[in-house]
Structure formats: structure tokens, C-alpha cells
């Protein structure tokens, strides 16, 4: 079975992001970029399914600026077989990304698509669910465990207050949560090998999708800053302050 894994290029999770002084967005010039951490978990899960003999081919897809090919290379070094890059200078929002992925899925006919549960830049948490809708497939979001048997997939989901297990008919969408697995580091030989794996280059127009954003960002502000308060010398003083000054206990 073929697995499709969309991967997004985002500001590295260790970078302390800054709001641009003109309020037009987040400073990304000269900032380290990496694969979205939840997408790494998605690639890892696909590679494990291939190692178990469940999956036969893994196709990594990325969308956006030319440099997204580096993100695809990372997926290829982890164990994906080939890549598809949809190049666009227009900002791609989840709706457009899901529409583009739908066309790619129609062509590639994967049995399973694994995505990260959210990208750590726009924090939308939407693409997987939207792609499931466009394809008419069931969705197992926020997965911490997946098990494939025949034409069914059992997904254990992280929900408020615990876990929920659902059974979906394949083909299906899975989005990954933190505890699904711990992604591997690509080894040097695998990084070298990844350079020879093919990446197909496409444009949104090739897929017949209008990628125009529906949300216009009017401005981006810094969140209200908290002031550091005072240090207390002892537990007794802390409890006294909470009781008599803050009046919260």
C-alpha cells in the first residue's frame, strides 16, 4: 500500500520568533527553517509501516517556496521513496493545501495519508481534516497509536480527558500527535542516498487549483507582555500573599 505524507517547512521550533516592527507578520528572514515537528512524526510512522511490510511506497509532498525541496529531502533521508513539490510564491493556507493534496491523492491513489496534527507556524490544525472531507475519507486525528488490519485502520486518539479509539475504513486520513512515535535522525549514508531520489516539480495551476488565500492578515501584534512579579522568601510568605494580596485561595 502507498502512503502519502505531506510535510511543511516552518520556522524551527527552537527559534524564538519575533513580530516584525511594522506589524506585517513574523520575522522569517535569516531564521533557521525545519520540517514541522508533527510532520516528522508522520514521516516516521510511514517509514515504520514500510519497515513492517505494511506499506510499499512513501511519497512525501511539500508546498510553498523552492526551498521546500529541502524539507522533502529530509523526508527522503528518513526513508520516503520519492517527493512531489508544489511550488508557489502565494501564501498557501490550509484550504488551498488540502485542495492541492486532494488532486495529488486522486492521481497517486494512496491507501493512507499521514499528516501532522498542526503546523507550529499558523497553528491552524486544519489541513488533515479538510483533506479528509475533500476525499470523502474518514479521519483519525491526534493519533497516538495506529494499527492496520486488512482494509481497516484502528486509531487511538488523544482527546480531552484521555484516549479514544476509532476504527476507520481505508483509505483514511491520520494526523499525528506527540506520543505516536519518536522520529529518527537520518544517517549520513541515508542523507547521501536521498539526494538521488526523485522529486517531481509542479505548480498549483498544473493541478487546476486556485490557491488564493481566503484569510487576509491585517496585522500581527505582540501578545500582551506579562511583567515579572516579586520573589517571595518562603512558602509561608507565598501562601500569605496568595491569601491576602492576590486573594486567589
Amino acid at each position: 500500500m502507498k502512503i502519502l505524507v505531506p510535510v511543511k517547512r516552518v520556522v524551527d521550533y527552537n527559534v524564538k520568533v519575533r513580530v516584525k516592527s511594522d506589524g506585517s507578520g513574523i520575522e522569517t528572514a535569516g531564521v533557521k527553517m525545519s520540517m514541522n515537528p508533527f510532520d516528522e512524526i508522520a514521516v516516521e510512522e510511514a517509514v515504520r509501516l514500510k519497515e513492517k511490510g505494511v506499506a510499499t511506497e512513501i511519497v512525501a509532498v511539500s508546498m510553498g517556496v523552492t526551498q521546500c525541496s529541502e524539507t522533502i529531502r529530509t523526508a527522503l533521508a528518513m526513508g520516503a521513496d520519492r517527493g512531489i513539490l508544489v511550488e508557489s510564491d502565494v501564501e498557501l493556507q490550509p484550504l488551498a493545501v488540502a485542495k492541492l493534496l486532494k488532486v495529488i491523492a486522486d492521481k497517486e491513489q494512496p491507501k493512507l495519508i499521514i499528516l501532522g496534527k498542526q503546523a507550529i507556524d499558523d497553528d491552524m490544525s486544519a489541513t488533515g481534516q479538510m483533506l479528509a472531507a475533500f476525499l470523502g475519507w474518514p479521519q483519525g486525528t491526534f493519533a497516538s497509536k495506529v494499527l492496520i488490519e486488512g482494509d481497516k485502520i484502528t486509531v487511538t486518539r488523544e482527546v480531552d480527558g484521555g484516549l479514544e479509539t476509532v476504527e476507520l475504513s481505508l483509505p483514511a486520513i491520520v494526523t499525528t500527535d506527540l506520543r505516536l512515535n519518536e522520529p529518527r535522525y537520518a544517517s549520513l549514508p541515508n542523507i547521501m542516498k536521498a539526494r538521488k531520489k526523485p522529486i517531481e516539480n509542479l505548480k498549483p495551476a498544473d493541478l487546476g487549483v486556485d490557491p488564493a488565500p481566503r484569510l487576509t492578515v491585517l496585522k500581527v501584534n505582540e501578545p500582551p507582555k506579562r511583567q515579572a512579579g516579586k520573589k517571595v522568601a518562603s512558602v509561608a510568605e507565598l501562601v500569605d500573599k496568595l491569601r491576602n494580596e492576590a486573594k486567589v485561595i
Binding site: 520556522v11 524564538k16 513580530v19 513574523i26 490550509p94 484550504l95 507550529i120 507556524d121 497553528d123 491552524m124 490544525s125 481534516q129 479538510m130 472531507a133 475533500f134 475519507w137 474518514p138 479521519q139 486525528t141 488523544e158 482527546v159 480531552d160 480527558g161 484521555g162 484516549l163 479514544e164 479509539t165 476509532v166 476504527e167 476507520l168 475504513s169 500527535d177 506527540l178 506520543r179 488565500p213 481566503r214 484569510l215 487576509t216 492578515v217 491585517l218 496585522k219 500581527v220 501584534n221 505582540e222 501578545p223 506579562r226 515579572a228 512579579g229 516579586k230 520573589k231 517571595v232 518562603s234 512558602v235 509561608a236 501562601v239 500573599k241 496568595l242 492576590a246 486567589v248 485561595i249
Partner: protein
């Protein structure tokens, strides 16, 4: 303009995050609510009492149990032509269902709004709350999830809305609920608690969370954790407070042995009063704490327990 809000309910009635979503919807005009599940007459009656709600649509059928995304999104899409805005709280359910609804309606979802500016314009956090983006939607119908911590919930009582049954809709049969394994706890839910006390990597292991429990009981607090503590396997993931876990804004947040990574701060910095207990006085958590105590948590927690018990 009329909004439809998807409600979540349990044995205690309409969940607090859903009541916050209703509060957000009241800023947009008339509010209808949808409540779904089987044998939900009691929950529907409670929904009708929410102040500001004009109509309750009741989808009483076993297919809607556990609010699975596939059937419930089909129902919401069928109801959508009557509404300008479709909302739910940013919970596991809201996040699962609403983007699916949005795709069927060719709309870009507006996730996790913290403010309603006008009918088309909303403020939402990006980059783990390190930026607040004001976004304007050009879609005909707005599909929204609401950050519960940013809107005071409407009270549980005070209204008297009409109820009507949901229309019959063809539902997909490609998903099935198997089981739920919910943490059993007498304590309040993290996102609804007035007080939250969280442990971090400094707790050293899961057993040491027992030091937090008696204090949580005395304060009526929910127990949370940092991602580091979850990653280290001390506690389950549903304890996690932060960008990739739960967003909380209690009246009192106590961070114990938590350094204060950006991703954790994103989940709790809207709390009214923040207390940090950490032996490292350079820990970034002290930069957001109203009250900081530089002390080893293994001496501080027993003292705190004793001090609270002596009142």
C-alpha cells in the same frame, strides 16, 4: 446574522468551553446551538437554559454518540445554509469537526479565535501565541473555533430557548467508535479549573506527582504538566499544558519544577495569577510569574501542603 454553535455536554451539563463559544457567538448576532448524541433530552433542556441562545437544535440519535467527525460534520453542513457563522470551542471535538465542515463549505477555517473584531474579522494566536494575528475572512460562511480561555463563559442558566429536532441527514458509515479510556479523576478538568498546579521535568519521575496531589485537593485544583514531563513519561499526554497540549487560563496557575519553555508559556500565560516554584532562579518561568519562590520543590511542596492544611 445568525450563528450556530456546536455544544459538547457531559453528565454535568453543557461543558464550559462550549459556553465560552456561545459567549463569542453572542457578539455576532442571534445564536442557535446544536446538541448531538443519544438520549440527550436532559442535556438539550440544559442547552435551552443558556442565556443568549434563541434556538436549540437537537440531534438525538445513536449515530451522533461520541461526536464523531464524519456524521456530525455531515449534519452541520446540512444546517449551514441558515447561518453566517458556525462555531465550536477549540477542544479535541471542535478541532476534529470544524475544519471538516469548512472544507465541505469551501471555507478556510478560522482556528482558535481570541477576539471578535467584527463579523469578518478576528484575532487569533500564531506561533504558539508569540504573535496575535488580526485576520479578515472573505468566505461567505465563517467556520470558527473559539479559544475558551479568551471568552468568559455564559452562565449555565438564565435563558429559555425553543428546541427543535435536527433534520434527518444521510450519514457516512466509514468510521466507528470502539472505546474510550478517560482518566478517572475527582478533580476538575484542566481547561475548566479555577486553579491549576502543574509539574515539570523537575519532578524527576511520575511517582513524585503524588507530592502535588494533596495540594491540588486542598485548592480544588486540576493537575497539569509541561511537555517535558509528558515526553519523559511522568504523566499522560492529556495532562499537557502548552502549545501542543491544552490552553488554560485559571485564576491561579502554580508551576512546579517547570523551567518555562516558550511552548509551555503559550498554554498558561493568560492565567490571572502565576506562581513559580523552581530551585533555579534563572529559570525563564520567573519572568512571567507574579510570585516566584526559589526553592527545591521537594522541600517546598510538603511545606506548602502543611501551610494550606493549617488554615
Amino acid at each position: 446574522m445568525t450563528s450556530l454553535v456546536l455544544l459538547e455536554h457531559d453528565a454535568n451539563g453543557i461543558k464550559q468551553p462550549s459556553r465560552s463559544a456561545v459567549a463569542a457567538a453572542t457578539k455576532l448576532g442571534e445564536v442557535h446551538v446544536l446538541i448531538a448524541g443519544s438520549n440527550i433530552a436532559e442535556a438539550a433542556a440544559k442547552a435551552a437554559k443558556l442565556p443568549g441562545v434563541a434556538k436549540v437544535i437537537v440531534a438525538d440519535a445513536p449515530e451522533y454518540d461520541h461526536v464523531m467527525a464524519e456524521p456530525i460534520s455531515a449534519l452541520i453542513v446540512a444546517l449551514a445554509p441558515n447561518y453566517t457563522h458556525l462555531l465550536a470551542a477549540t477542544t479535541a471535538v471542535g478541532k476534529n469537526v470544524m475544519p471538516r465542515v469548512a472544507a465541505f463549505l469551501d471555507a478556510q477555517p478560522i482556528s482558535d479565535i481570541a477576539e471578535v473584531v467584527d463579523a469578518d474579522t478576528f484575532v487569533r494566536p500564531i506561533y504558539a501565541g508569540n504573535g496575535m494575528a488580526t485576520v479578515k475572512s472573505s468566505d461567505k460562511v465563517k467556520v470558527i473555533t473559539v479559544r475558551a480561555a479568551s471568552f468568559d463563559p455564559v452562565p449555565a442558566e438564565g435563558g429559555s430557548a425553543a428546541t427543535e429536532p435536527a433534520p434527518a441527514v444521510d450519514l457516512p458509515k466509514n468510521s466507528k467508535f470502539i472505546s474510550a479510556e478517560l482518566s478517572k479523576s475527582e478533580r476538575p478538568e484542566l481547561t475548566a479549573a479555577r486553579v491549576v498546579i502543574s509539574g515539570g521535568r523537575g519532578m524527576q519521575n511520575g511517582d513524585n506527582f503524588k507530592l502535588i496531589e494533596p495540594i491540588a485537593d486542598k485548592l480544588g485544583a486540576a493537575v497539569g504538566a509541561s511537555r517535558a514531563a509528558v515526553d519523559a513519561g511522568f504523566v499522560p499526554n492529556d495532562y499537557q499544558v502548552g502549545q501542543t497540549g491544552k490552553i488554560v487560563a485559571p485564576e491561579l496557575y502554580v508551576a512546579v519544577g517547570i523551567s518555562g519553555a516558550i511552548q509551555h508559556l503559550a498554554g498558561m500565560k493568560d492565567s490571572k495569577v502565576i506562581v513559580a516554584i523552581n530551585k533555579d532562579e534563572e529559570a525563564p518561568i520567573f519572568q512571567v510569574a507574579d510570585y516566584g519562590l526559589v526553592q527545591d520543590l521537594f522541600t517546598a511542596l510538603p511545606e506548602l501542603d502543611k501551610e494550606l492544611g493549617s488554615s
